[in-house]
Symmetry: C2
Subunit: 339 residues, 2 copies
C-alpha cells in the first residue's frame, strides 16, 4: 500500500505549519484563526494530494465515528435484508454510515463480528441477537457501548430494544383461523429459545385455550435451524397424516412458510379448501402462490427507523433512559385462510 497522505505532507506542500493545516482540516472552531487565503490554499492542496482524513484519529478526538454497526441473523433472509436496507436509509438521513455483518444465527460468529466492529470504533450497535448471545450483549452494556436490539431481545437483560408484539399477532392469527371454521390448527415453528419465537408459540396456545381448544403437542412441529430442508417434509407429513390431521397451519416465520408451501405444493392438498394457511411476514415469493396468503405484517420500516433513532439518542447521551419498544403488527387477510 502507498503511504497515506498526512497533514505533514500537506503542510510541507503549502509551506505552513502542521498546526495550521490541522486547524483548517480538523477543527472548525480554530479555523477562524487562519487567514482565508491560506485556508483555501490548504484545502486545495489537500484535494490535489487526495488527502483522506484519518477517521480513526478524528474519532478518538471527537469520540464519534458516525458509523453504526449492524448485526443481523442471516442476510440471505429477505426479512433481514429489508431491515438492513431500511436501517441504512434511516441512518443516512442522520449522516451515519452503516457497516454490517451477518451472524448466521451462530453465537460464535456474532461474537467475532462484535469484536471486529468494536475495534473499528463504531459509535453503537443495532443487533438482531442470536440464541446464546446473552453474554455478548451484557458485555457491550457493561462497557457502556450504545446498543439497540431489534426483532429479538432477552427478558433478563436491561437494554434498549425495538420489537413487534409477537404474542398478540399470534393470538390474532389463531382467532382468525378458529373464527373461520378451523378446529385443528397446527403450528410450524423453530426449536428455539429466542423470545420472538417463544412468544409466537405462547400466543398460539393462549388463543386456542381461550376458544376452549386444548393444546395438542403433536400439532406443534418444531423445526431445527439449519435442518429446515430435512425437517419440513417429515414434520408437515406428520401434521397431515395422523388420525387427527390438522385442518390449517400457522407458519411462524417466512422461511418456514416458504419451505412448507413448497412441500405442500408436492402433495394433493389445495389451499385453502383442504388446508388453511397463515404465515408471519410477507415475501416476494408469496406473490406468485396461487392462493394469496393471509399473513402477519410486521412494520419493518417503523422497527428500523425507531431503532436508528433510539441508538442515536443513546450515542448522544449514554445516560438517556433505556427504551423498550413493542410495536403492533397487523393481520392481513387474504384467500389462504379460507375467510
Amino acid at each position: 500500500m502507498k503511504k497515506r497522505v498526512s497533514i505533514k505532507d500537506i503542510a510541507e506542500a503549502a509551506g505552513v505549519s502542521t498546526a495550521l493545516v490541522s486547524y483548517v482540516l480538523n477543527n472548525k472552531e480554530k479555523e477562524a484563526r487562519v487567514g482565508k487565503e491560506i485556508a483555501i490554499k490548504i484545502r486545495d492542496i489537500a484535494k490535489q494530494l487526495n488527502y483522506q482524513p484519518n477517521q480513526l484519529a478524528k474519532s478518538l478526538k471527537s469520540g464519534k465515528s458516525y458509523t453504526i454497526g449492524l448485526i443481523v441473523a442471516d442476510i440471505s433472509n429477505p426479512f433481514f435484508a429489508n431491515i438492513a436496507r431500511t436501517i441504512e436509509d434511516e441512518a443516512k438521513k442522520n449522516n451515519y454510515t452503516v457497516i454490517f455483518g451477518s451472524s448466521d444465527e451462530n453465537a460464535e460468529k456474532s461474537k467475532d463480528l462484535i469484536d471486529v466492529l468494536v475495534n473499528r470504533q463504531v459509535d453503537g450497535f443495532i443487533i438482531a441477537p442470536t440464541e446464546n448471545s446473552q453474554e455478548q450483549i451484557k458485555d457491550l452494556e457493561s462497557r457502556g457501548i450504545p446498543l439497540v436490539l431489534i426483532d429479538r431481545y432477552f427478558p433478563g437483560i436491561s437494554t434498549n430494544y425495538v420489537a413487534t408484539d409477537n404474542f398478540e399477532a399470534s393470538v390474532d392469527v389463531v382467532n382468525h383461523l378458529v373464527e373461520n371454521g378451523h378446529k385443528r390448527v397446527g403450528l410450524v415453528t423453530y426449536d428455539s429459545d429466542l423470545i420472538n419465537i417463544k412468544e409466537r408459540q405462547r400466543g398460539y396456545e393462549e388463543a386456542l385455550r381461550k376458544h376452549g381448544i386444548s393444546v395438542n403437542p403433536s400439532m406443534i412441529a418444531k423445526i431445527r435451524f439449519g435442518n429446515i430442508e430435512e425437517d419440513i417434509p417429515a414434520r408437515i407429513n406428520a401434521l397431515l397424516e395422523g388420525d387427527k390431521p390438522v385442518d390449517s397451519i400457522f407458519f411462524a416465520t417466512n422461511t418456514l412458510a416458504l419451505n412448507g408451501l413448497k412441500h405442500i405444493n408436492t402433495l394433493d392438498y389445495k389451499v385453502p379448501q383442504d388446508l388453511g394457511i397463515v404465515c408471519f411476514d410477507e415475501g416476494d415469493a408469496f406473490d406468485f402462490f396461487y392462493s394469496p396468503l393471509t399473513h402477519v405484517y410486521q412494520p419493518l420500516f417503523e422497527v428500523a427507523s425507531k431503532a436508528v433513532n433510539v441508538l442515536i439518542e443513546q450515542i448522544n447521551d449514554t445516560q438517556s433512559p433505556k427504551k423498550e419498544l413493542i410495536i403492533a403488527s397487523e393481520l392481513i387477510i387474504r384467500k389462504s385462510s379460507g375467510a
Copy 2:
C-alpha cells in the same frame, strides 16, 4: 464508555513488565522467551479482566486486520444477499471477517462506504461497483488497496474481477427462444451503462442477427433503476400492444422479471401459451409461479469463492498479477419458454 483494559493493567495485576505481557498476548515468536507459568498467569489475568486485543494497533503492526470490506449494489436484492452470505462463508473458512455495506446503486453512497471501510483498515475490498464509480475504483487501485470487483467491472480499468459471461448467456437465451418458435423476442432491461447489463443486450442483439432477425429498438424496453414500478407496466404494455406485439420476453434481471411477471399476471396472457418467458437468475419468488421459469443460472457460489480467493492472494502479495475471471452460466430449461 468504560476505559478499555490495557496491557499495562494486565502487567500491573500480574506484577510483570508490559513487554512480557505483550510477548505473551501479541507475539508468538517472542512468547518462547517467557516462562510457561508466567505465560499462563498472564493469559488468565487477561481473561479475568476481559482484555480485548486492540485490533487496530495489531493491524498497524502486522499490516493485516483479517477483515474484508464488501460493497454490494443493493442488499435487499436476493442476488446480492446470497452473494454476501456466500462471501461471508468463504471468508470465514480463511479466518477473515466480512463487514459490508450497500451502495444502493448510488455512486456517492459507494464512495462514503469505501472511505469508511478504508479508514477502518480493511485488508481489501470486494465490490459490485455502481455506475459512475470508476474514479473510486481507480483511486483504490492507485493507492494499492487489494480489490476484486464482482458481477460488474469497468473494461478501461485494470483490476481483478470475477464475473459471469453475460454475453454468451444471453446468446443462449435468444437461441433457445428462437429455436422454440419465437420470432418476436422482446428484451426488458435496465437503462444502464453497467457492463453486465450492456453485455446482456449485446448477446440478445447478436443472437437475433445470427438468426437473420433484425433488431427492433421498439422491442427493447429500458427500465430506469428506481423507477421500476412506474416503468414496468407502461413498457410491457407497449411491447404487447403494438401492431407487431412480441411473442416472448427476455427479462435481463430477476428484479425486472419479478415485477414484470406480477404485471403480466394482471393481464389476460398465459405463460407460455400466449407469451414465452426467460429470465436471468432464479429467486424464491419464482418457485410459486404457475409456469416454472426457464432461466440463466449464474454460479454465485463459484463467483463468491473465487472472489474471496483472488482477494486473499492479493492481500498476501500485492504484486501478484491481476486476475480477470469470466465464469460460464447455464441455461436451465423449464416450462415458461414453451420448450
